[in-house]
Subunit: 381 residues, 2 copies
């Protein structure tokens, strides 16, 4: 009889309307019926990506769109800078190296945001660099990198800014066209409020120019072919039909609320969570540049973070994320992106308070919930 609450930074909860849309009998993808839904969905994606460019829809996890961003824009031996401040920064390194790119690492302490001046300096020192790869929101550390400032640096160079917006698009403002982001990728199971299975990628005109000369081998993630098919309201290979139908519903929900309100909601939920963390005396993982997607906090001294996450999930039914690599067992990541509202945050915080009591930590029950409530009240008239 235990209820389950999904409060991890992806997959995120799926709204009932999207679940019901996906539960409809499957339709064939080479039909006018599907093409119409696909066309409308592709248009709605542009709204959320804040771009006039095509947003490619791939049957893949977000990593597929990351890989596509490398293989479609570069050739073996090309040089790129990777801003590596967490697990997903590392992923840019691994993909680039798998295809023979030369990677300049820009290591950033986990939980910190990159200093744009460091990127500028590295670019100045390495004029052959043709790409800067970064996360808008580094999910593993809950820190946000300064995309606007980075775009200002790459804009007038023969160099692309490639942004993993997997836990950023639809969470906070990353206006691709306005800022001059060259590639923006995301995935369905985050702010798009869907199950995993779809990846998205949008390319600037400058990026499409890079595409023309890129020689990395590719077949499934062939962006040129996908763009051609997108113009015909279809995909190169079999699309994940039900997920796209769910996406259509979810995007309409986002559009109806409006992007601005969506960003405000995420900001409010994030600030409420941070206030609760502070009330609990838990040290934040990314105090200077926190992402609005998730809040990382260090677990108290003497508490095993791994056991805490397991207790929350298995005993209390509340799934959150712990830490990875050197943060394993040391942190708790409380997600607040996607189909999440006031009472999800309250559930998270109340569960953490109660679990900490069970772990022998001194907690004044309700205090952190109260700190969150104070912020969450802003959401009501």
């Amino acid at each position: 009889m235990k209820k389950r609450y999904l409060l991890a930074p992806g997959p995120t909860p799926v709204p009932e309307a999207a679940l019901l849309a996906m539960a409809q009998p499957i339709i064939h993808h080479r039909t006018p019926q599907f093409s119409e839904i696909f066309k409308e969905t592709a248009e709605l994606l542009k709204y959320v990506f804040q771009t006039g460019e095509d947003v490619l829809i791939l049957a893949a996890s977000g990593t597929g769109a990351m890989e596509g961003s490398i293989v479609n824009l570069y050739s073996p031996g090309d040089e790129v800078i990777v801003i590596n401040g967490g697990k997903f920064g590392e992923r840019w390194v691994k993909i680039s190296e798998a295809y023979g790119l030369k990677v300049h690492w820009l290591k950033v302490e986990w939980g910190k945001a990159v200093n744009p001046a460091d990127v500028k300096k590295l670019l100045d020192e390495n004029p052959k660099v043709r790409g800067v790869l970064v996360q808008a929101s580094e999910t593993s550390t809950t820190a946000a990198h300064p995309i606007k400032e980075l775009a200002a640096i790459t804009k007038d160079r023969d160099c692309l800014l490639i942004v993993d917006g997997i836990t950023a698009v639809g969470v906070f403002d990353v206006p691709m066209d306005a800022w001059g982001v060259d590639v923006l990728v995301s995935g369905s199971q985050k702010a798009f409020m869907l199950p995993p299975g779809l990846a998205f990628a949008a390319l600037s005109q400058k990026a499409w120019k890079f595409q023309e000369t890129a020689k990395c081998p590719k077949f499934y993630f062939d962006f040129k072919k996908e763009r051609k098919n997108l113009k015909d309201n279809t995909t190169a290979y079999t699309p994940a039909v039900s997920l796209i139908i769910g996406l259509n519903t979810a995007l309409k929900m986002i559009k109806e609320d409006g992007l601005e309100n969506t960003f405000k909601r995420h900001d409010r939920l994030a600030r409420a969570t941070r206030a609760a963390g502070a009330a609990l005396g838990l040290k934040p993982l990314a105090p200077e540049a926190p992402s609005n997607a998730a809040t990382g906090v260090f677990v108290p001294e003497g508490v095993d973070g791994g056991k805490l996450v397991k207790y929350l999930r298995d005993e209390m039914g509340v799934t959150m994320a712990g830490g990875q690599d050197h943060l394993k067992g040391k942190i708790l990541r409380i997600a607040h992106l996607g189909y999440v509202d006031t009472f999800d945050i309250i559930t998270s915080i109340a569960a953490i308070e109660m679990a900490l009591v069970k772990f022998g930590h001194k907690v004044e029950l309700g205090k952190a919930v109260g700190a969150a409530q104070q912020v969450l009240l802003e959401g009501y008239k």
Copy 2:
């Protein structure tokens, strides 16, 4: 993007497993396939009703089973005592009078439980009385009547104890056979965790004797006919097929948890809610004999309870119940029956705290949540 939380004393939330079971393609009711499910369901119902007798399954709301309990057991002119301490006590009066029974009112102040001595006295004074009609849990006042004590009084008389257990069966202990309850009725949308649409009625051997001579007119609610059909694993009229399939799933969930654990869970949730009400300084509606199905509290002086319920529902997405008749606008009823757990209670209490702030009431945010958490912690190892 507003999420909705159903925390009224019925309908109550439906578990995902039951929703999925009911979403299956409909099957025909005159088939071995359905009969098998029906048979198993009827057996499981006996477990929850704590009886060896048949539990009739009707396509009706709970009121249908209440009406059936009158028309199948009495004749016009028969005398009954109605313990009338709320809206549902009144319903017993109205049904009895609609069929020409002579009703002895035993008025109980709303929020109070009946004093068994008063029932005994009224029975002694009116030896022709052949039935005592009562609610185990009076949903409108959140008070529980002392069924065990009443059964001890009616047991050795030519008089039935007819109990509306609509918000009691599966919530707290009403062991029908052990206590000597003669009729116990309930409905699907309460502790049975289903949508509305099914009513249940179980009759003691003594009650079935009454049935033999009862002359009230009836057709749809003909219990004798239903019992005959039940023995053949079917119903007299078309059963609500999908609800019965959902019931099968829900009853298995209850059985798996065990009745004792189910009662314990409801008791813990109820105590947590009462503790939160006390922490908020809200006067309880039924302090002496509170039901574990829902907790009624008076809203603070100067707060319009009707507007508060509307605000909670329309602005915060949290549906609770207000008061009826002379309690209209004065109380709030927080439900905690059925598919409800720790975080539903926390959601309720946090929402009330926040709404009261919006209504200008002085509230220390998180304090009542903390009081609830303290009790709810008992549920975890």
